[in-house]
Symmetry: C2
Subunit: 379 residues, 2 copies
């Protein structure tokens, strides 16, 4: 009790804000730096009801036109024979690696130390699938052909994440990617793409999604990042591979009786946003330039390769957050509502992902807000 | 080509109906023997949008009032400390058995030969969780205390399904259930309930759900059977058990960024239907009496214990189905659109589950339709 009172007195008033209060402040904002804006479930569902006008019937355990047509659409976009819609990428990627592991008769799979499977899935690849990980490369950077050449043991599959979220959405240069794919092919190693944000990579490579996907044996894509759906993922690959993935999907408990709300939202988002990704990429580069004019602010990568970047802020984490939330409250502008630690002493960071909402702020406004935020953290 | 043409000529015209045509016939029906009627996604989503009026914000990876409040509501109904909403029962039950297995340091779990885990999940309990099954009892009947007493090896957990779907929705008598629970408790065996249709069992036991659930260490319930939701399940139990289940949920890929469409539909269905289950049970008993007046028709159980029963029809499967689909087309009455094989020579069966739609047909109409269907199969 004493501690609590004291802490409120010691810290700025805004420190007392709970997670719920923070969220409420953001829900009340009118403009946002990241994403497509915060939508109320009632509005999202009303939109979906309109999207469902041409859908007379629900899907049923993975069957039915609404889900099968969308799977064909995604397979076509990725130039793969077949595709299966799943509730989550966590399922899709474990399933892909398990299948390649069984086919190659090898339990070891390789990925970057900051791969989603390594850091965000409670080590399910071990607990559920009995797989072992050979980590490749360094956490701070993209993995390279040199890193791959150091692998001295048999591996069933290599996972590459395009773009790699936890290092700011970085992409390997095309020739590097081709060389890594060749390395895998020559060794009989299956190549799987974590394409959670693949849609956002198209503008950088200036190639069709199918051309990029052609380097890979299997591809996972997501629909609730830049696409702006509700949830859901798709795994694409050869027909026999996808047939096997459907068996594993049932095992994972992901073959739901009805997935149509997710499918419809994914379909609507994709049709609306696929052509917007080049625009988001351009805007991301402008925003990065604006942010880098603020003394002390660091952007990674310095020139964004996709719609996203990590923004490093100097100063006290609590004060930085308080300053952002003050702006949310007073000016109804949502900049960031959480900060991650970094390896730089005195620096924290947040993830900035350009979406429709980002266009509500000018470069000057963005630079101005961050100048104020950084200044306030040094008070 | 020849075979196909021949088969069309040999069989009644209706035999040429594809799965899609069958579904379309049913979608165009105005009255149904089973369920709550077929709803178009657009209508279902429009209802959900209204249900979301009091929900200002989405859930986020299992957090947020919309999902947490509902979990508390279900935990309260079941008299358990805690509960977690999941996309599917397949996930919920594997997770429950894995946790009990780890806690008891034993890989063997026990269930009936027609348990969902044994017949509907591609043996995921083995492939994902490394569990072994000790099957208990005979496929044709409920398992008994005598069956349990024959278990001569250590088991971590016993799963009981209330009511047991694949034998027509049968329930053990209360004293038998209590005795089985005592058997488990005395041996330190965790008791898990497959309560996919538990809501529908309340009328038979004339006890609160909490009183029935109190016999069990963990309980899974579903929201898209009698409740009429879109999909989704909940696992309930002690707080530490549910905490652990949340880790496994993430591993399974079921900790979706947003589950609110399923949660809202489950909540709406439960509020609307919980008080209707006694009415469904009464109606099921009346329908069973009506069906048994039709010569040759067998109902299992003879007197339904819940909202459901299995209806055995004598005659040729294709002709029976054709007769049902003719009625769907000509009179817009949906009776059944698929038949399962049975062990009785010359008999097939379908599952009848009473819902709101069942009240659109009188006993006399039901008996009349089935008299016609059975007669046509002997032509």
């Amino acid at each position: 009790m004493t501690t609590q009172t004291q802490s409120v007195q010691d810290e700025p008033e805004t420190q007392a804000r709970s997670e719920a209060e923070t969220l409420t402040l953001f829900l009340n904002c009118e403009r946002f730096l990241s994403g497509h804006g915060i939508r109320r479930p009632a509005d999202e569902l009303a939109d979906l009801a309109r999207e469902a006008a041409d859908t007379p019937e629900s899907d049923h355990y993975g069957e039915g036109a609404v889900i099968e047509d969308f799977e064909r659409e995604i397979a076509g976009l990725l130039g793969k024979e077949s595709a299966v819609f799943m509730p989550s990428g966590t399922m899709a990627q474990q399933i892909a690696l398990r299948i390649w592991s069984e086919r190659k008769n090898c339990s070891t799979v390789a990925f970057h130390p900051l791969c989603h499977l390594e850091v965000d899935e409670e080590k399910a690849y071990q607990y559920l699938h009995g797989l072992r990980a050979r980590l490749v490369g360094e956490p701070q950077r993209l993995l390279t052909l040199e890193d791959l050449r150091k692998i001295a043991e048999p591996i069933a599959a290599l996972l590459l994440e395009l773009p790699q979220r936890y290092i700011g959405g970085q992409l390997p240069e095309w020739q590097q990617l081709v060389a890594q794919a060749e390395w895998a092919r020559e060794r009989g190693v299956a190549l799987h793409m974590d394409g959670a944000r693949l849609w956002e990579s198209g503008p950088y490579y200036e190639r069709s999604y199918a051309e990029t996907a052609a380097l890979f044996d299997s591809v996972y894509v997501s629909f609730y990042k830049g696409v702006g759906g509700i949830a859901g993922a798709t795994l694409a690959g050869p027909a026999d591979f996808i047939g096997e993935a459907r068996v594993w999907l049932r095992r994972h408990g992901g073959n739901l009786i009805r997935l149509y709300p997710y499918v419809l939202a994914a379909r609507a988002g994709l049709r609306q946003r696929l052509e917007r990704f080049p625009v988001y990429h351009e805007r991301a580069k402008q925003v990065a330039v604006a942010l880098r004019t603020v003394p002390g602010v660091v952007v990674k990568p310095e020139t964004p390769q996709t719609h996203m970047m990590h923004v490093y802020l100097p100063g006290d984490m609590d004060r930085l957050l308080a300053a952002s939330l003050d702006i949310a409250r007073d000016e109804r502008v949502g900049l960031f509502r959480g900060l991650w630690p970094t390896e730089l002493p005195g620096y924290t960071k947040f993830e900035l992902a350009v979406g429709e909402a980002t266009f509500s702020l000018t470069d000057e406004e963005i630079a101005g807000y961050f100048a104020r935020i950084v200044a306030s953290s040094h008070k």
